[in-house]
């Protein structure tokens, strides 16, 4: 594309109220189409990680009987992982699934991608409450600082998922088996992230490599703040912030590069 045509990109004259309406309608209709517009349907979405938690806890709590906080760490890991897996899978196919809107009119397509993960976000918000209540029930009432830190880690995870979704959604239009590749990566990633096992059972020299996988620092830091009651180091926080910013910025860059021609690949 030449500089002339970039400069000529039509100015979008969408009023702010119309843009807000578009976001709300996409979120509402996505919820309705997925869960048939009922709370009962939404409960099924929560049951998947819940049942996984019960099964894994029943099996692995014997293996890690020496670690009393195992079930608390497990629920935190599983719920954060569920958001990551669901959010990235939905985000990846978002532009393809909503391609019929892209060819209708000039629409800010990043809104189609970001709102596609709204259901995973709603689930994360519910999990946030469930985790805090679960911890309190088992005598680990989180301090206000721990809750603030956990919220910040969730925001970092959201930034990672949005960054991934922006990049993968435009790549998926060109590479239609990317979702199958990502399914395999997610399956392997479930075991790379220390979800069902404590990180300290692995030699410390491997920890660095596990932390490269973005969900690992989010899960480990959340456990440290909520269960162990210890705050990660400043260096650790800087690493997580940098990781989230890197994922988001790379996602935005790939999206800005490929999205102008997205409609041609629908």
């Amino acid at each position: 594309m030449t500089a002339a045509s970039l400069a000529a990109s039509p100015v979008e004259r969408r009023p702010a109220s119309a843009r807000a309406g578009l976001v709300w309608t996409l979120v509402r209709t996505d919820f309705k189409a997925r869960y048939h517009g009922t709370i009962g349907g939404f409960v099924w979405a929560l049951l998947k990680p819940m049942s996984m938690f019960i099964v894994l806890m029943a099996v692995f709590s014997f293996l890690f009987a020496s670690k009393p906080a195992y079930k608390l760490n497990l629920i935190i890991g599983l719920f954060l992982w569920d958001f990551f897996a669901e959010g990235t899978k939905t985000g990846l196919t978002s532009l393809h699934a909503r391609g019929y809107l892209l060819t209708k009119a000039q629409v800010p397509s990043w809104i189609l991608v970001v709102t596609a993960i709204s259901n995973a976000l709603i689930t994360l918000a519910v999990f946030w409450v469930v985790i805090v209540v679960f911890l309190a029930t088992f005598g680990h009432v989180p301090s206000p600082a721990a809750i603030i830190a956990f919220t910040a880690y969730c925001l970092a995870m959201i930034a990672i998922v949005i960054g991934f979704s922006l990049a993968s959604s435009v790549l998926f239009l060109r590479y239609r088996d990317l979702n199958q590749v990502w399914d395999v990566v997610v399956q392997a990633g479930f075991f790379i992230a220390p979800i069902i096992y404590p990180l300290d059972i692995l030699p410390e020299r491997f920890h660095f490599y596990l932390y490269i996988w973005p969900p690992t620092p989010v899960i480990e830091f959340s456990r440290a703040a909520l269960v162990a009651g210890t705050m990660p180091t400043l260096r650790g926080h800087l690493y997580l912030a940098g990781d989230a910013a890197f994922c988001l910025l790379v996602g935005i860059a790939v999206y800005r590069w490929l999205s102008p021609r997205a409609a041609e690949y629908i």
């Binding site: 030449t2 000529a8 996409l26 060819t103 209708k104 000039q106």
Partner: protein, 248 residues
């Protein structure tokens, strides 16, 4: 000032001889370079859409009409040249598609209305009017999966006619529905024209172009080959079809 100025716009598509749509195909084909045909859909197209006029565009299949409309509406970027839009454009493109089959008509109207720039308040206020225009009040809560293509198209027209702010871009006007629906569309078009809205109309129908347009262009192989009165352009279009059929 003209609501839309198209200045030397060109657009080409690279059509591969064998499509590679997956990572697997790209990896296994890394030693076999892909070959492409270049399809020049638009070649240095320039024109102005003047305020308040209805401009008709005619051309045979493959002349670049749909690509031009998608560039005007911001769906496709041009390869070269520039499109200056100084007014909000409401398109009716790809009729019959663009719906979520799992949602009913009301939710789909909210979705498409929002995409076309209507606020939720505007959509709610005019919902009954849009459904009545499409004669679909009884089927307002039926999922679009159960709609016929004619019903979907009527709904698309109803939403787009409601969403018009300044410029309306129509691909094959009034090509759907029965005589009654077409009459309502024509009536609505006349109301918009009387209010001073600008319309760009692409059609294969000489009657539609001569009846509704103030001026017309003829596209051929991605180029504007004529700009004249609607009657002249319609006659030239029909004669080009006749000579094509005769193999001239």
């Amino acid at each position: 000032m003209a609501p839309i100025t198209v200045d030397a716009v060109s657009k080409a598509f690279r059509i591969p001889t064998v499509r590679r749509d997956t990572i697997r195909e790209h990896v296994f084909g890394v030693l076999r370079p892909q070959q492409f045909h270049r399809l020049q859909a638009l070649d240095s197209v320039s024109f102005e859409l003047r305020a308040g006029e209805t401009l008709g565009i005619m051309g045979r299949n493959g002349s670049g009409k749909s690509t031009l409309l998608k560039i005007l509406c911001g769906v496709y970027p041009p390869d070269r040249g520039r499109v200056e839009r100084r007014a909000a454009v409401t398109p009716i493109l790809d009729l019959g598609v663009g719906w979520n089959p799992e949602l009913d008509a009301v939710d789909n109207v909210c979705l498409i209305g929002s995409v076309m720039g209507l606020s939720l308040a505007e959509i709610r206020r005019s919902m009954d009017e849009m459904l009545a225009f499409a004669e679909l009040q009884e089927f307002a809560n039926l999922k679009l999966a159960h709609y016929s293509s004619g019903m979907s198209s009527r709904l698309a027209y109803a939403v787009a006619f409601q969403a018009v702010r300044e410029v309306l871009v129509l691909d094959e006007i009034f090509a759907v529905g029965d005589a009654g629906f077409r009459q309502r569309c024509e009536e609505r078009y006349r109301q918009l024209h009387a209010k001073g809205h600008t319309v760009l109309l692409v059609s294969h129908d000489p009657r539609a172009v001569t009846s509704f347009c103030d001026r017309a262009l003829l596209l051929d192989h991605g180029r504007v080959v004529a700009e004249d009165t609607p009657r002249q352009i319609a006659e030239r279009y029909v004669s080009s079809l006749t000579s094509q059929a005769a193999g001239v």
